[in-house]
């Protein structure tokens, strides 16, 4: 059930401006730090006493997060809203400045075009 861990990563990083800045600047370092220092605490708040012993990412999940590979995350069943929101935070501004409003969102949709008309990978809990 490591898809839970992927969603937890996206949720926690998107909700914290300092983690988000680290994820943009050095994705590999932030993913490694999350796996050891942030993800294993119970729940998603600021708790630092109770641990969840089994939180970990698979190699493919870790690679997708390090690569900012939202297509791979979509195909793994990471929640579409968490994925969209965090990647808009990472890329929308620079795309909009370069190529106009919504250009990042439209490229994102185009990269998923093979899924048009097909049942999407499940995001069920």
């Amino acid at each position: 059930m490591s898809r839970y861990a992927v969603n937890k990563f996206l949720y926690q990083v998107d909700g914290d401006p300092s983690l988000l800045a680290e994820y943009k600047a050095d994705p590999a370092a932030l993913v490694a730090r999350w796996e050891t220092e942030i993800g294993p605490w119970l729940g998603t708040g600021a708790r630092t006493v109770e641990r969840t012993s089994w939180i970990s990412l698979t190699d493919a999940e870790r690679q997708a997060l390090v690569d900012h590979d939202y297509v791979a995350l979509f195909e793994m069943g990471a929640h579409f809203f968490l994925t969209l929101t965090i990647f808009i935070a990472l890329y929308d501004e620079e795309y909009a400045a370069r190529s106009g409003p919504l250009s990042f969102q439209r490229e994102y949709a185009a990269k998923l075009s093979a899924w048009t008309g097909r049942e999407h990978p499940s995001v069920a809990l």
Binding site: G43, F80, L82, Q105, H120
Partner: protein
């Protein structure tokens, strides 16, 4: 006894405020003026009902709730609520709010729901997200009325059925009508028509399934609950867009109104999604 003076069901478009209020007029897109006109006309349908309290129906978009502890149905019971999260301010330029709560009606509603077989979760530290703040911005921007927030899961499957959402709406209406207070209660809820987020059909020239949208508006406007219960399933909704299950909150609002035609129906086809504005007056049209 309290009077259910209006039931409003609307889509929630998080960019309305940014596009029509924060963007200089000369930089606004061509559809902005019509959008604002429609919203102002819709706002009048709530104002005319002279509400004293608002029962607000929405859904948390992974702001406060996550998969470690995700409530299917939840009610807030607080004297005050803070509203909008950091990442909504970041992405949508969403304003923050402090809303007054109504602990008495929240408590009466919570007990009434339990008594009717709806085993709700409850929060005493609920922060409100844009699913409730968007309709505050469009229908009551002064945010001067106490609110009772009800959250549903339309977002993290598996979800309850359309029938369950409709029946929940019926229960909410009956509880409001039993509440021993001489006040007007309006129910305002937001959801979606066809919508895709983080998928191949997002941010197109229209919503992902314009024909489905028109059908869905007809169902609601005519109070055609039989067709909704027959045709609205997880499969049919997600075929129309991965975030289309947000329609279930509009079904819930029809449940509050009852199986009857709406008094006010309007919509606006935009890029990415279609907006919908609908109002019922269970106590009679005050306009």
């Amino acid at each position: 006894m309290a009077r259910l003076s209006a039931v409003l069901a609307t889509t929630h478009h998080p960019f309305f405020h940014k596009i029509t209020e924060l963007t200089p007029p000369e930089e606004q897109p061509p559809f902005a003026a019509e959008w604002k006109r429609k919203v102002l006309a819709y706002r009048e349908t709530l104002t005319a009902a002279e509400p004293d309290v608002l029962v607000m129906v929405g859904s948390d978009h992974f702001h406060q709730f996550f998969a470690d502890n995700y409530p299917t149905f939840l009610i807030g019971k607080q004297a005050r609520y803070d509203a909008t999260f950091y990442n909504e301010v970041r992405e949508f330029s969403m304003p923050t709010y402090e809303l007054q709560g109504h602990e008495d009606l929240s408590g009466f509603m919570f007990q009434g729901l339990l008594d009717r077989g709806f085993d709700f979760s409850i929060s005493h530290e609920l922060k409100i997200d844009h699913s409730i703040i968007c309709p505050i911005i469009t229908t009551r921007p002064r945010a001067d009325l106490p609110v009772v927030p009800i959250y549903t899961n339309i977002f993290a499957p598996p979800l309850p059925s359309a029938k369950r959402f409709y029946d929940l709406g019926r229960a909410i209406a009956s509880i409001i009508e039993e509440w021993p207070a001489d006040v007007n209660v309006a129910a305002v809820g937001s959801g979606h028509l066809s919508l895709e987020l983080g998928g191949p059909r997002m941010f197109g020239e229209h919503g992902p399934d314009p024909e489905w949208d028109l059908q869905a508006i007809r169902w609601l406007a005519e109070g055609d609950v039989d067709s909704i219960l027959e045709d609205v399933t997880w499969e049919s909704m997600t075929a129309a867009g991965n975030a289309t299950p947000g329609f279930l909150d509009l079904v819930l609002m029809l449940g509050i109104a009852g199986p009857t035609g709406a008094a006010y129906v309007d919509d606006l086809d935009l890029f990415h999604t279609r907006e919908m504005y609908m109002t019922w007056y269970p106590e009679g049209d005050p306009r």
